[in-house]
């Protein structure tokens, strides 16, 4: 519906509307308001028309695949159709380069516990409806997405990092973190694609949007252990290790020129169980073996 409106708007321009209703003005005002609210609620629930999804190429594109409903949902029963169709396609609507990029970013910035949280955040924001439904409609949200997924990754990373450290970030600290992360993201990019996170302004725009839409009031953020720290604990070590190995091919395609052995050597200090993980702030544990 909104796609049709946008197309029509482009052809029609902005016409002047002269209202001459066929009933008394007071009656008409009431009727208009009544229909406006009744149909607005309905319009939000109806699913958007499917649009052709841009294919993600092996050397990734900087744009986002549009988060439209997929053709397969025609098989779902009527009750399921009323649900947001995006719920069924969370990982597939997020470009494939995102996870390796997140891993690379978090590794360079020494936050090995962050990647799954950052990915959950990015996926949620790209595919789920926001907790706050006022104002920003689907068209405006799509425009926001076209900004830069990399900027979104940086914004979500900063939020995750702050939460994991359990600290408040001041404006200066935020700017420093943002610029560091932006630099790393640009460094991780394939050299053949110069476009990308050109400036930090898009990160700020995403931050504002995350605040406005209260995107942090969702499971992905609330499940992050506040003050849990940036390091991976013993339990997470094995899962982190195996999933890194699984994604080795994706990382190779994304990070041009990096050696596999380099990556594993760099990861070892974080993933070795026992070292540093037995010592907590409250109790000093002495190993006697």
């Amino acid at each position: 519906m909104f796609m049709q409106i946008r197309r029509l708007k482009q052809t029609l321009g902005l016409p002047k509307i002269q209202s001459r209703p066929p009933c008394p003005p007071r009656v008409y005002q009431k009727l208009y308001r009544h229909l406006d609210s009744a149909l607005a609620a309905g319009a939000r629930r109806t699913p958007r028309a499917p649009k052709a999804v841009e294919p993600t190429t092996p050397n990734r594109t900087p744009t986002v695949t549009p988060r439209k409903s997929r053709v397969t949902t025609s098989r779902t029963p009527a009750s399921a159709r009323h649900k947001r169709k995006r719920e069924s396609a969370i990982s597939s609507d997020v470009p494939t380069w995102v996870m390796p990029a997140i891993r690379g970013l978090c590794k360079r910035l020494e936050a090995p516990a962050a990647p799954p949280h950052v990915f959950a955040g990015v996926s949620s924001i790209l595919t789920l409806p926001p907790p706050v439904q006022d104002g920003l409609d689907d068209i405006q949200l799509e425009r926001l997405q076209s900004l830069s997924v990399e900027a979104l990754v940086v914004a979500v990373y900063i939020l995750v990092r702050t939460r994991l450290l359990g600290v408040q970030t001041d404006p200066k600290g935020y700017s420093a973190q943002r610029d560091d992360a932006a630099r790393v993201m640009n460094g991780l990019r394939n050299d053949e694609e110069p476009s990308g996170l050109r400036d930090s302004a898009s990160v700020d725009t995403w931050m504002r949007e995350i605040n406005r839409g209260r995107w942090t009031e969702m499971d992905w953020f609330e499940n992050i252990g506040e003050g849990a720290g940036l390091a991976v604990d013993k339990v997470g070590a094995t899962t982190g290790d195996s999933s890194d190995k699984d994604d080795v091919d994706e990382e190779d395609s994304f990070l041009v020129g990096r050696q596999r052995s380099d990556r594993y050597k760099a990861e070892k200090p974080f993933l070795q169980p026992g070292l540093g993980t037995m010592v907590s702030l409250q109790f000093h544990v002495v190993d006697d073996c």
């Binding site: 708007k9 029609l12 009933c23 009431k30 229909l35």
Partner: protein
């Protein structure tokens, strides 16, 4: 029904060229059909204005939506 909608649209946007764009009419008709679903019982004086109000809503939403 379509003609009533088209007439309402013409009245709302005098600058619009005859005939009214088909897509605009279809959009307004769709909104009208939805309104019959969502707001099925209206007072007689309101019912008279239903078509006009839906056409009006269609135009306003077109103007209000920003790229």
């Amino acid at each position: 029904m379509d003609r009533a909608v088209a007439q309402a649209l013409n009245s709302l946007i005098p600058e619009l060229n005859d005939p009214v764009p088909k897509e605009l009419v279809e959009l307004a008709v769709s909104l009208l059909a939805q309104s019959r679903n969502k707001a099925s019982s209206l007072k007689p004086e309101e019912e008279i204005a239903r078509t006009y109000a839906c056409a009006h809503l269609t135009c306003e939403r077109l103007v209000m939506s920003r790229l």
